[in-house]
Every structure is written in C-alpha cells, then in structure tokens.
Amino acid sequence: MENKLNYITSDEISFYKSDGGLLMAKYKGEDIGRVAVLRMFPLQYAEEYLCVKVINYDRFDKETETGIIRDLKDFPEDAVRLVRAELERRYFVPDIIKVDEIKEQVGHILWKVTTNKGEREFTLTDMSSNIINLGGGQLLLTDVYGNRYRIPDISKLDDKTMQIIEIWI
C-alpha cells in the first residue's frame, strides 16, 4: 500500500447495500466487502474529505484505507444516497429544533428537547467543556453519557435557554 493520499474517483468505486443493510463497495472492479465512510473533518466538512475504509469482521485486524473521497457532490446520485445513509448512521448527532423544558440544577442542566430525530431528555454537566461553540451560530453539546446534540442556530433559542447557557458560549 502506498503511503500517499489517494483520492478515489467516481468511476473507481461503486457502493451497494448488503442484505443486512450495511454499506459495501467495489473498488477498481474488485469486491472489497464492507466499508466504513468516515468524515476526516467532521466539524468543518460534512460531505467532503471522506475516508473510505475496509472493515474486517475480525475487528482486531487492522482496517485498511481504500482512499479518500474529495467531495461527495462529484459522485453519482446512487452513491451519494448510500454514503449519506452511512454517514447518518455513524455520525448520529440530532439537531435540536426546540427546547421544551430546561432546568438548571446543582451544576447540571437538564434538557427536554425536540430534535429532528424525535423527542429526547438529557443531562449536561461540566459545561465549559461540553458546550462547544462551533462558530456561525452553531453549538455542539455533549451529555453525561457522551451523546452529542447540535444546536444549528443559537439566535433561534428561547430566552430562558439562552439565559441559562449564555455564560458558557
């Protein structure tokens, strides 16, 4: 394997789904089996610089990198749909649409929210490291279990939520 950056072009790779619903790929005519698609800059680029890796069932073996997708928009619709679904699965970070209830209690913030993935309750602690300002009005929250949530637009938050979290941002 070469130790150099390898951009994959859309005619070198094709994706398909296994019967179990997992992402598989053929690369340069060869079936390489199950693959993972990873964001290399998850905070900056959602669909650019995607790393394609072959996953072996025996997870103790080293995974091998097939190459890098520079920009997903250069790929055919089918591939885009499959890769997007895979990214959705791997990077499960719901967007908080509405804060239904928020309470501050002994150094914790209890949230009851509506997200684009449904309703959810969670707890935040150690706010200075678990509320991250991504810039552009976006916030990333990490709850006590390590689950992540995104607030896409701070300016749309209600007054009470803002009052509670504003000192952390």
Binding site: Y57, R90, V106, V144, N147
Partner: protein, 730 residues
C-alpha cells in the same frame, strides 16, 4: 432464568410478542434499544430466548434468528451511537441501534447472548458491565445538599453558639448607633432644654465605646468563624482526598472526573467562603433588615413607606445586572485563561517555536489573546461604570425623598430633627443588607454546586471493592495465572480477549508486542488497578478479587516506565514502599540497584531533595532509584515496564545489572523492549491486538518462520544495524 436488569417494561411490546407465540417467561433477557434503523429516537426490543434471538421494532416488524445460525454477536461503536450486529453465515446484520446512554447495558446484554450462544447460561452476578456513573443524585436538589453541608457544623457546636451570640450582640449594638447620633444627639444634647444638653464629651465617649465594642466583636467573630470553617474545610478536604484514594484507577482516568485538583481545592474553598462569610452575614443582614424595618415602621409608618419605594427598584437593578456581570466576569476569566494557554504553549514549546522559526506567530497569537482580554475588561468596566452611578443616584433620590417628606414633617412639628437624623441613619443601615440578600442566592448556588461535586466523589463507590472476607497473606509464593481473561476500559471496546497464561514461581516472563497491544493492560489487571470482566486472575491459585488490597500491594512491586519520584529526599523516595526501612536497608537497596555510586556523588547525597525546586535526575538515574525502591520493598511478584527510550550503553548496562539483582528469586513480569531483557526472560509471551499469539523462549520464537516475534525482532535488528549500533540479539 432471567436478568432483572434486562426486562421488558412495556406491556404493549409483550402483547405484540405474544402474537408471534413468545411469552414473557420465554425471554431470558431483553434489550430495549432507543434508536431505529433510520436513526430516529424510538424503541425497538431485542429479546434473547432460549434458542433464538428476536427483534420487534417500533412499527411492529418482527425478526427472528435461531442461535444455531448465529456465529457471533457484537456491538459496533459510532460517534454518538452504536449498533448491535450479529453475524450469520458470514454476513453481518445489524439488529438494533442504541445511543451511548445504553452502551454499558448493551455490553451486558451481548455478554448474556454470547453465553447463550455457547450453550451455557450465565448467573446474573457473572455479567459485569461498566459503571457509567449514576446521575440520579441530580434530582436530589440543593436543599438536601445544603443540609448535608450543614451536617458538618454541629461538630463545632460551642464555636457555633458563641458565634451566633456574638452576631446578635453586635447587631443589636449597631442598631443603637443611629438612635444616639440622631435623636439623642440633636434632640437631647444639642437642643436647649434637652435631657443631656451640652454633655457632648460623654456622648462622644459612648460613641467611641460602641465603635470599639463592635470592632472587638467583629474580630472575635472573625476568629471563631475562621477557626470553625477552617476545621470544617479540613474535614471535607480530608474526606474527599481519602475517598479519592480508595477509588479504582478508572476514576482517575475517566474523562468525566474533570479536574481533581480543583475538587479538593477550589470546591472546598467555595464551601469555606460560604460558611465563613456567607452564612454569618446572612444571619446578620437578615436580622438587621427585620429589626430596622420593624423599628422604622413603628416610629414613622408614612416615612417608612416612602423609604421603601426605591428598594425594589434597586433590588431589581442589582438582580438584572448581577447576571450580566457574572457573564462578563466569566468571559474575562475564559479570555485570561486562554491567554495563559498561549503563554504556556509558547514557553513550554519554546524549542519547537524557535526550531520552526515561528516567534512572530507566537507574538501574534499572544497579541490576539491579550487584545481580547483587554476588550472584555473594557466591556466589564463600561458596564460597571453605567450601573453603579445609576444605583447610587437612585439611592440618593431615595434619601432626598426622606429629606423632603421628613423635612415637611419636621416643619409641621410631627417629627423632631433628631428623629429625622436617626431615620436617615437607619436607612443607610438597610441598603448594604439588601444588596447582600440579592446576591446571596448566586453565592449559595455556586457553593451548592461545589458541594455537589465534592459529595459526588465522597459517595462514589470503588469499582474494585475489597471483599469482606478477603484473604490476607504475609508472603505470597508468586504464582500468577490468567484464565480466559477479557477486559475493556470502555463499553464495547475490547482491549484483552480471552487471555490465558501462567507464570510459575520465580519465573521471569517477557511480555512483547506492538504499542497498544494490551501489555500494560495485563499488568494493570494483575495488580488489580482494574477488575476483569470475564475470566479470572489468580495469584497462588486465589482470585485477586478475594485477596486483601494490603497483601496485594505489599507483595507486588512495580518498576514503571515513567518513574515518578515524589518531592522529598532520595532516601525517602527509596523507602516509599517501606517507610520504616533502616538507613542500612536503604543503602543496601541503592547498592543493589547500582544507584549508590551516583547518589554519593551528589552534593547532598541521600538527602538530595527531589521534585519541585529540587535536583533533576536523568532518566537512567530515576529508573535506578525506582528499582532500588522495588528491591527494598522485596515483593514476591515484580512488574517491570521497561523504558522504550534508549540510554547510553553504560547506563543501560548498569540498569541491566540492577535488574538482575532485582529479579533474583521473584516472579517477574516484564514488558520488555530490549534484546538483553528479552534474552534473560525464561519465556516470552507475545501479545497482539489483545490476544496472546505466541509463547516460548527467545530462541524458539526468534527462529520461527513468519512468527510475529521473529518479524518484530528482525525489524529491530535491521534498524540497529542501519544505525551502526551493536545488536546483541545476533
């Protein structure tokens, strides 16, 4: 057979399962997943039956697979979720998705299914899961915490009672003052025909006496308060610190633990301030407000009402601006800490900065950070310049209202001039306490937050508990055995998988493998820094979980790669494991470790101070001291983590010799990198990806074709040859 933690709580799911001929009793364990296959929050349930696995999702879709068709089950971890995947006929099928909230539970469920797959049913106790922390205490609220903080106080009853007495006396005396400087001074002393007309000197004397008395009371209160809160804080700190020491390693390495130093220090300090300043002032100010308010109303109701007009406005302004100031202060603090980071980064990495010629960039970074700090300070200054003049203006206005209304009453003869003076005097006594009362809530909140963080540590149970009937052994034989050990630091991320090997008494084995293979983890579980999840660790045939911590620690010695020397003298450091060692023993150990020679050459010899502000030793010297430490401790079992960094040949030789005197007569488990160590070992155990892949002597493994060890060893040899170094492995 069922597992209490893995029940189905939802009756509707049970009903749906009934439609497929599955009764509640058929289900050995169930995992309620909280994500669907399209990554929406919704419940789907995986059930482990006696012969098959079945899944019913939120839409009622049903899936069933017999155990005989399932080869394996495992969890795959993603960024903030995971999937339970089964492998059937070579194909992987996801059967459920879960958020990280459930990752520990999923791990337990998978362990149960694995047992079912292999045909034996596990006891509930055998299923271990990671402790993800219990967050139920959050709902206990502040009141409970407050009472818990207060529960420390009764131990100091005499101080407490005298303090309250002093507070009451001091407050009472303070209350008399406006009456004297007002009514008595103007109406009785300065007015002709007054009771004490002309007796200015005694009046001044009384005032001097009163002020001296209240200063005295203040000093007394401060002393008693400092004494009491100091003792309370000492108690709390001791409790936190000793609780921390009892906890397993996982507590110290966990991300959620946060800054430990902060907990012992600043959180305890927060509580101290509150108990020392907050609480007594709360009592004083509360008393003052009540008494003064009552007095004013009795003396002159009309004037009192007019006085109270600005109070709510002031309270409102304080409350509103307090939040803003808190935010600004916090931002300033964040900016100043990020500026400190820049300074720290630059000076700690000054060699890199210089080597890359990035001095200018460092200056720019500092400039940026420092400018932000300045701007924030400016904002803070502007804000306080706006709020405080406004506040004092409103207060003045309040005073003017009293002068106006009160003046009119004096003119009408309804009030004497002295009474008016007393009145304004009492009024000024009121503003301070009101200001304090508005702020105390925030103070209380931050104190309770600190208390909560502290009690969280105190209440935490260790994950490596000592069994009540733990075995105590003065001297172990030193036989170590790992039986089918599996372990992971975090849920679903296996580090060791089914590891078994035995080390006989007095034998030296070398653990070999790439970094991250799991060698250090093996030593961690032998010393029981962590407990294994599956399998057993036996010492002299006894499970380490049943051996008392004391005998475990007195019988296992460690020489670590990163030697940590505590602040103190070299002699104290050598005697760390055996504080009562005699001077002769210390010197013997140092001699055996080949450390004696360099120690005596130091100007302060064995008394050389190490640590902060003390002498800095080289890596090789530090390691020899830690070897001496282990020799002095004379453990039955020795764990040696060899440093990877290369040392010069002479030092290396000395360390080798030191090691040889250390290893003699003990069971040794060495994480080895150097050929000399590897060749000295009786046996090598090669670890790769959490499993043992090869076992044998250096010769056997070195000559094994395509062996993992042979490959590693040849690579190292080639590197040595390339450098022109002497390879003693040939």
């Amino acid at each position: 057979m069922s597992y209490s933690e893995f029940n189905i709580n939802d009756a509707s799911v049970l009903d749906k399962l009934k439609a497929y001929g599955i009764k509640e009793d058929d289900i050995a364990a169930a995992l309620e997943c909280d994500l669907t296959d399209t990554q929406m929050y919704a419940k789907s349930t995986i059930c482990a039956l006696s012969d098959a696995l079945c899944v019913i999702d939120n839409e009622g879709r049903f899936f069933r697979k017999d155990y005989k068709d399932i080869e394996d089950i495992y969890a795959e971890n993603y960024v903030s979720s995971g999937a339970v995947i089964i492998k059937c006929n070579g194909e992987e099928i996801p059967v459920g998705y879960f958020t990280l909230t459930l990752s520990a539970k999923t791990e337990g469920f998978i362990a149960i299914v694995k047992k079912l797959l292999s045909g034996d049913a596990a006891n509930e106790e055998e299923i271990n899961t990671h402790n993800q922390g219990d967050f139920s205490y959050i709902n206990k609220g502040r009141k409970k915490l407050f009472f818990r903080v207060m529960s420390y106080v009764p131990r100091y009853m005499p101080q407490l009672i005298s303090m309250i007495a002093i507070i009451i006396i001091a407050t009472a005396v303070n209350m008399v003052r406006p009456y004297i400087t007002g009514t008595i001074l103007y109406d009785e002393v300065l007015t002709k025909g007054g009771k004490y007309y002309g007796q200015i000197l005694p009046l001044v004397g009384i005032l001097v006496g009163i002020s001296a008395f209240s200063v005295l009371m203040g000093i007394l209160q401060g002393r008693i308060g400092a004494d009491m809160s100091g003792k309370i804080i000492y108690d709390i700190k001791m409790e936190v610190f000793s609780s921390m020491q009892k906890l397993g390693m996982s507590f110290f390495t966990s991300k959620r633990t946060g800054n430990l130093l902060n907990r012992v220090n600043s959180d305890a300090l927060d509580i101290q301030y509150f108990l020392n300043d907050g609480l007594p002032n709360f009592i004083i100010n509360g008393l003052t407000i009540c008494c003064v308010g009552l007095y004013l109303f009795i003396v002159n109701p009309l004037l009192s009402v007019s006085v109270l007009i600005p109070v709510p406005i002031i309270a409102l302004i304080i409350k509103k601006s307090a939040r803003k100031f808190k935010k600004l202060k916090w931002h300033t603090w964040r900016r100043s800490s990020s500026m400190n980071t820049v300074i720290n980064d630059t000076f700690m990495g000054i060699r890199v900065v210089k080597a890359f010629g990035r001095e200018e960039r460092a200056v720019k970074r500092f400039f940026g950070a420092s400018r932000e700090l300045y701007e924030n300070r400016l904002r803070e200054g502007v804000a306080s310049a706006k709020v405080f003049p406004l506040l004092s203006w409103i207060m003045t206005l309040g005073g003017l209202v009293v002068w106006g209304l009160g003046g009119a009453q004096v003119v009408w003869g309804k009030l004497t001039f002295g009474e008016l003076m007393s009145f304004t005097g009492y009024l000024s006594l009121l503003y301070g306490p009101v200001n304090f009362m508005v702020k105390i809530f925030d103070w209380w909140t931050s104190c309770m937050n600190s208390a909560q963080r502290i009690f969280e540590v105190v209440d935490r149970e260790t994950d490596v508990p000592e069994s009540p009937d733990a075995l105590y052994t003065q001297r172990m034989k030193g036989e170590v055995e790992l039986k089918n050990v599996s372990f992971s630091y975090e849920p679903n991320k296996s580090v060791l998988k089914n590891v078994s090997f035995k080390v006989n008494k007095g034998e030296m084995i070398g653990l070999v493998g790439h970094s991250g293979a799991g060698k250090s983890t093996i030593t961690n579980i032998i010393t029981r820094l962590y407990d294994v999840f599956d399998g057993e660790v036996l010492i002299d045939g006894v499970n380490v979980k049943n051996i008392s911590n004391e005998s475990l620690h007195s019988n296992i010695g460690m020489v670590l790669q990163e030697t940590y020397l505590f602040s103190g003298s070299i002699a104290e450091n050598i005697a760390y494991g055996k504080p009562d060692a005699s001077i002769e023993e210390i010197i013997d150990a140092a001699k055996a470790a080949h450390a004696h020679e360099f120690i005596v050459n130091l100007p302060d010899g064995y008394d050389t101070r190490l640590g902060k502000g003390g002498t800095d030793l080289s890596g090789g010297e530090k390691q020899r001291i830690s070897i001496a430490r282990a020799i002095l401790m004379n453990p039955a079992i020795l764990i040696f983590d060899e440093a990877t960094s290369s040392l010069d040949t002479e030092t290396e030789q000395k360390i080798q010799q030191a090691m040889q005197s250390l290893v003699k007569g003990r069971t040794t488990i060495a994480i080895a990198h150097r050929f000399s160590t590897l060749k000295n070992a009786d046996r090598l155990v090669v670890v790769e990806n959490g499993r043992i892949v090869e076992e044998g002597t250096h010769e056997e493994l070195f000559n094994k074709e395509n062996g993992v060890y042979a490959n590693m060893a040849h690579m190292q040899l080639n590197a040595l040859n390339f450098q022109g170094g002497v390879a003693d492995g040939k």
